[in-house]
């Protein structure tokens, strides 16, 4: 038997069984749709197909070639190609509206082909016909703005990939409706400013009509005193193929960019995919706190899957200032974050004319993440810097990082100072940046259970 050094670890990679089977099925369905379509085509088409099949057999694959097998747009095709779960589901329920809106320029016709508006999620599919110029990677992207590129709206300026479909290109955009209240019928302004390598302006005001939905009021609050944050769950919007969770986050002024992230599991403890998290709908200041109305989107209707969901709210803290250690400081020293239990303890420091050596430990060895995350922290967030330039993020001094104890998250960084002009203990400091720990290891609040039925 062949020796197998790493198979054990490989087998430990968690497999999401159900979702995986669904992915396989929809990949096949998608291909099958194209194939049966191909069979209905006339002779001319079958010649093209044979040519395509030859290429396929030579290279085994190319999505452009496989997409070329079906060149007539079918409603909802783009949702399949780009794996828009909401759009796909609504297409199968025939709840997607066909559109026929066109904007032309620079030798390109851009056409909105379909749209949906489910709960708080809006999606459109479009087609580009004409002389599209590919980029250097032989791919085509479009750059668009919605709502005039309003900075206050999440993802209002985005790049969208296009895929070849026959002679044309197709694409899909999904957005979360950016208002607190959801109007029944609305339209949203959309402008393409670049398609492929061509800049221009292709404008639309896309009409959408909301599908029936249910809104369940909630009033549950979770908070953390040390971090001075609270998340109040306000309501849950159950659409036909999507679920939206509305909440209000309260943060201190220094944490105005704090971010709410939700992790959701179903009644079996299976993870529920949150596709868009932390959509800010409205920000205001009340006394000494920032209040953010936010929303997260789950791209499925959960009722058939589960009776309740459990939401684990997390808040990634912002505004975490760098801290500095003088080389002559008495050791050991702990650099702590005020709103969270993140700590870097510097236990030993040696300075000579050649090098500065620092021994330090991250979070007292508390291991919430894979090891390489801490290794990266050790390399990038504990640095020797010139005091007069300590707030400037320059390329770090050359240094090596040695793992002293993997279990305890202890590291030794050695900085080469032999080539630094005028180095002395007084004009250099150690900069410790706890911000990366905060944004990657958020404050975890108590879970909230929400009944769906």
């Amino acid at each position: 038997m062949k020796e197998n050094l790493y198979k054990d670890q490989y087998d430990k990679i968690d497999v999401p069984e159900d979702e995986l089977v669904r992915s396989i099925q929809s990949g096949i369905d998608q291909a099958d749709g194209k194939r049966s379509f191909k069979r209905q085509r006339n002779i001319k088409r079958s010649i093209v197909s044979t040519a395509a099949a030859v290429v396929l057999s030579a290279t085994f694959l190319s999505s452009n070639v496989s997409n070329a097998l079906a060149d007539v747009p079918v409603i909802g095709e783009a949702y399949h190609v780009f794996n828009d779960m909401v759009g796909r589901n609504l297409t199968s329920q025939q709840l997607v509206t066909e559109l026929d809106e066109k904007s032309s320029g620079k030798g390109l016709d851009v056409m909105m082909t379909s749209a949906y508006y489910d709960g708080a999620v809006i999606g459109v599919s479009f087609k580009v016909v004409g002389d599209v110029k590919e980029d250097e990677f032989r791919e085509v992207n479009g750059f668009y703005e919605i709502y005039g590129g309003n900075e206050a709206i999440s993802d209002s300026k985005e790049i969208v990939p296009l895929e070849k479909s026959g002679d044309d290109y197709i694409g899909q955009i999904q957005l979360a409706y950016p208002g607190k209240e959801l109007p029944a019928n609305t339209s949203f302004p959309l402008e393409f400013k670049r398609i492929g390598e061509k800049e221009g302006s292709w404008k639309f005001d896309v009409p959408v009509e909301q599908l029936p939905y249910e809104e369940v009021e909630l009033d549950q609050v979770r908070s953390n005193e040390q971090a001075d944050v609270a998340v109040q769950f306000n309501s849950i919007i159950e659409g036909q193929a999507s679920t939206a969770i509305n909440y209000t986050g309260t943060f201190p002024l220094e944490g105005k960019h704090d971010q709410v992230r939700l992790e959701v599991v179903d009644e079996n403890g299976e993870q529920v995919n949150v596709s868009r998290d932390g959509i800010d709908l409205e920000t205001s200041q009340e006394n000494d706190h920032i209040v953010v109305k936010g929303r997260s989107i789950i791209p499925e209707n959960l009722k058939e899957r589960t009776d309740y969901i459990e939401i684990q709210p997390k808040v990634a803290l912002s505004g975490v200032e760098d801290q500095f250690i003088h080389l002559s400081e008495k050791l050991p020293i702990k650099i702590e974050s005020t709103r969270q239990d993140h700590v870097i303890s510097v236990n030993d420091m040696k300075v000579d004319g050649e090098k500065v050596t620092l021994d330090f430990q991250i979070n007292n060895g508390r291991n919430d993440r894979y090891f390489e995350f801490y290794e990266d922290m050790a390399r990038n967030e504990v640095l020797l810097v010139k005091e007069s330039r300590k707030d400037i993020y320059e390329e770090p001094l050359k240094h090596t990082v040695k793992v002293l104890d993997k279990e305890k998250l202890s590291f030794r960084s050695t900085f080469d100072v032999s080539k630094l002009k005028g180095f002395n203990e007084n004009n250099y400091v150690v900069r410790v940046s706890l911000g990366t720990l905060s944004s990657n290891l958020p404050v975890e609040l108590e879970p909230v259970k929400i009944e769906l039925n």
């Binding site: 062949k2 197998n4 050094l5 790493y6 198979k7 670890q9 490989y10 087998d11 430990k12 990679i13 968690d14 497999v15 999401p16 069984e17 979702e19 995986l20 089977v21 992915s23 396989i24 099925q25 929809s26 990949g27 096949i28 998608q30 291909a31 099958d32 194209k34 194939r35 099949a53 396929l56 057999s57 085994f60 694959l61 999505s63 496989s66 097998l69 794996n83 990677f137 791919e139 992207n141 790049i159 990939p161 971010q259 992230r261 992790e263 993870q271 949150v274 998290d277 932390g278 990634a316 919430d368 993440r369 894979y370 390489e372 040695k402 793992v403 993997k406 944004s439 990657n440 958020p442």
Partner: protein, 177 residues
């Protein structure tokens, strides 16, 4: 029903047989995709794209017994396409949230996925096929269109690199796994 029979049926256009085949190998497909793309959503996308492309191309498969080899080759190509797309599309500020969404339960897998990802591409493909997919040197050579001796060399070097990355060179110097 044995696998070769299923492959034959699939080649004749039997959709159910094709689905059965993929479900049979689903764990391996997902885990390998995860090694490359390192997150659950992208790994699922890669599997879906693999299902899509392989279903369209199944009639071109010459020898039934090489089905898994052939499928793996498609999967790897899809994984690279996904990585390439991500490189082009994902703005930097979105990378951190993606990392934060990783399931804790996948952390053990993450170590390996991260380490595998740090290997040079040529070593990575050889390691993945030989160790995780249990292909023979000969089969690996066939999938990657490389001479067998080159596969052996890559395997040796890749293993050395992977060992260094996985266990930390400093602590485990001289210790053989």
């Amino acid at each position: 029903m044995n696998e070769v029979k299923l492959v034959k049926k699939a080649k004749r256009g039997d959709k159910e047989a094709f689905e059965q085949l993929l479900v049979l190998h689903k764990d391996q497909l997902y885990r390998t995709a995860f090694l490359y793309v390192r997150n659950r959503e992208d790994a699922l996308d890669v599997v879906q794209e693999t299902a899509f492309r392989s279903y369209l191309a199944i009639t071109t498969l010459q020898e039934e017994k090489f089905f898994v080899t052939w499928l793996t080759k498609i999967l790897i190509r899809c994984a690279y396409d996904s990585l390439k797309k991500r490189k082009n599309d994902v703005p930097l500020e979105k990378v951190t949230p993606i990392l934060s969404k990783l399931d804790k339960r996948s952390d053990e897998g993450m170590d390996l996925a991260n380490a595998t990802n740090k290997l040079e591409q040529k070593y990575r493909d050889v390691i993945v096929l030989f160790h995780y997919h249990d292909l023979s040197i000969k089969e690996v050579a066939k999938v990657l269109d490389l001479p067998e001796n080159t596969v052996k060399t890559y395997l040796q070097r890749g293993r050395k690199q992977l060992r260094t990355i996985l266990e930390g060179a400093h602590l485990y110097e001289g210790k053989s796994l």
